[in-house]
């Protein structure tokens, strides 16, 4: 059980942000912090890792006290067993990819594990390259591998996959989940990607301006309505074409695009980029596996 209570006024020239959060994480859980840019997600991460001192607060991890401002306890980052993927990667420019990983590992993990990791993040060809010569996505993958190589007790991932394309992103999501379970990690994720959050996390905390505004099971928090067998989707209007007395409307739902017909009255109310709910009255879906 990780118990976090943090308060910090973030210094700013104007418009101070007062961060005040309190939450619990069970061992082995994967929770996600979600919220607008500048809401305070990275700052919370830095405080949990011991890189930023809160004004007030405490962090208990199982029976250990990592931080207690009242008792003036404050473990240095070195003694909090944490793996961290930084939003800005923070790769060591003087070391190759392989050396970055080797440096990160404690005594416990062996070269074989590093080799495996390099294969999984698809960096086999690049292991002797310096970070400066990598593309954005390649850097991000190295940063992720470097955090995993430590087999930490708590894994903190600050947007670990934002620079990646759909395919590798999917692959790494699965892999993170796998590692998370296999090594019984407690994982905290920061992500903006809704499908990523729903797929990966057990619990979601939504922040706004330094406060927790919602929390719960991701699907419930994010979709706002119960999961049902009803076939209804929220989508976005891409184009509207008039044809005689009807409108042909293309709607983007996820990565699918469908055409819907609307009558004149309906059609006139709609415009491009509107969000719409599309539902079927009666539906009996068929399901096909795609290979």
């Amino acid at each position: 059980m990780i118990d976090v209570q943090l308060q910090k006024s973030l210094k700013a020239a104007t418009g101070d942000l007062y961060l005040d959060v309190e939450f619990k994480i069970r061992r082995g859980e994967l929770i996600t912090l979600y919220g607008k840019s500048g809401a305070g997600k990275t700052s919370i991460f830095r405080m949990i890792a011991g890189l930023l001192d809160p004004d007030k607060g405490r962090i208990d991890v199982d029976e250990f006290v990592w931080l207690d401002t009242e008792k003036k306890i404050n473990l240095p980052p070195q003694r909090r067993k944490i793996g961290f993927v930084f939003q800005e990667y923070a790769l060591f420019p003087n070391m190759t990819v392989l050396e970055n990983l080797r440096f990160a590992r404690g005594k416990q993990s062996d070269d074989l594990f590093i080799k495996d990791l390099i294969d999984i993040v698809d960096l086999g060809d690049l292991q002797n390259r310096k970070p400066d010569t990598l593309s954005g996505g390649q850097k991000q993958r190295v940063a992720l591998a470097r955090a995993l190589v430590q087999k930490p007790e708590i894994l903190m991932l600050d947007e670990p996959l934002s620079a990646l394309d759909y395919e590798i992103r999917n692959k790494l999501q699965v892999y993170i989940l796998q590692v998370h379970k296999e090594f019984d990690l407690t994982t905290i994720l920061i992500s903006h990607d809704i499908s990523e959050i729903i797929k990966m996390s057990d619990y979601l905390i939504e922040l706004d301006r330094g406060m927790i505004i919602r929390q719960g099971i991701p699907a419930e928090v994010l979709t706002n309505h119960n999961i049902s067998g009803k076939f209804q989707f929220v989508g976005e209007i891409l184009t509207i074409k008039r044809q005689d007395f009807i409108f042909i409307i293309t709607v983007l739902i996820g990565k699918e695009i469908i055409k819907v017909v609307a009558d004149e009255d309906e059609g006139k109310k709609l415009s491009i980029c509107d969000k719409v709910l599309i539902a079927s009255k009666a539906f009996n879906p068929i399901i096909h596996k795609i290979d």
Binding site: L51, P77, R80, I82, F86, A90, F103, A104, G106
Partner: protein
């Protein structure tokens, strides 16, 4: 041609530079990362040896190191260390005098470095020392090099302090800069030129080699 002054010079420059590295890295580290109010004072103090004319600085050191004074007496009595007219004394004097040339560039190197690298290493459980040696120092190589070159070259040319503390004892404290000075003073311009030329050439080759290795030129032509 007497080679001892030249050998002595490079020995002095080399030892001084190595010692300075050991001293300057912690000092520069403190100066770069401390938030103490004393920081500007310390920064200023490090620069101060530069301000006095070398001979005068040497004279003050001479007085401080003299066995008849408290400090020098203490060293003499308890450690058996004689700092005047000895090679050890030359080294200490050179270290003090060249300190700012090493400390300042390294400090500015640390200051320019992104703090996220330090954070990343700490989170991995690496100690401050490991972080310093494996992450910080390798990433400020240009600054380290600047410090090393300035301190090395300056110790070679340094002469006022050395003359004062060393007492010009041949084979012991008579370094090349003093030998050249001697020749100029006694109007032996040819000998002075020869010494200068040799000193110049050897140093030129050393520095050129360092810069070429650093710039990757050697590597490029090797392959």
């Amino acid at each position: 041609m007497d080679w001892t002054p030249l050998i002595l010079t490079f020995k002095l420059a080399f030892i001084t530079t190595v010692l300075l590295l050991f001293i300057s890295v912690p000092v520069a580290y403190w100066l770069a990362y401390s938030k103490s109010r004393l920081k500007p004072v310390m920064e200023t103090l490090v620069s101060m040896p530069l301000v006095l004319p070398p001979t005068v600085l040497g004279f003050y050191m001479l007085i401080a190191f003299s066995p008849s004074n408290a400090f020098g007496g203490f060293l003499d009595k308890w450690l058996g260390l004689r700092l005047v007219f000895s090679f050890e004394g030359l080294i200490l004097a050179s270290v003090i005098y060249s300190l700012p040339f090493m400390v300042h560039p390294i400090q500015s190197g640390f200051s320019n470095l992104s703090s996220s690298l330090k954070d990343a290493a700490y989170v991995m459980g690496k100690s401050k020392t490991t972080t310093l040696f494996r992450i910080l120092l390798p990433n400020i190589k240009p600054s380290l090099l600047t410090g090393i070159i300035l301190a090395f070259a300056h110790t070679i040319g340094e002469f006022g302090v050395v003359l004062m503390i060393g007492g010009n004892i041949s084979g012991k404290t008579k370094v090349a800069s003093i030998a050249i000075y001697d020749e100029v003073e006694s109007l032996n311009y040819v000998a002075a030129n020869t010494y200068s030329l040799i000193l110049f050439s050897i140093t030129f080759v050393i520095l050129l080699f360092v810069y070429a290795v650093n710039g990757g030129f050697i590597k490029k032509f090797w392959q």
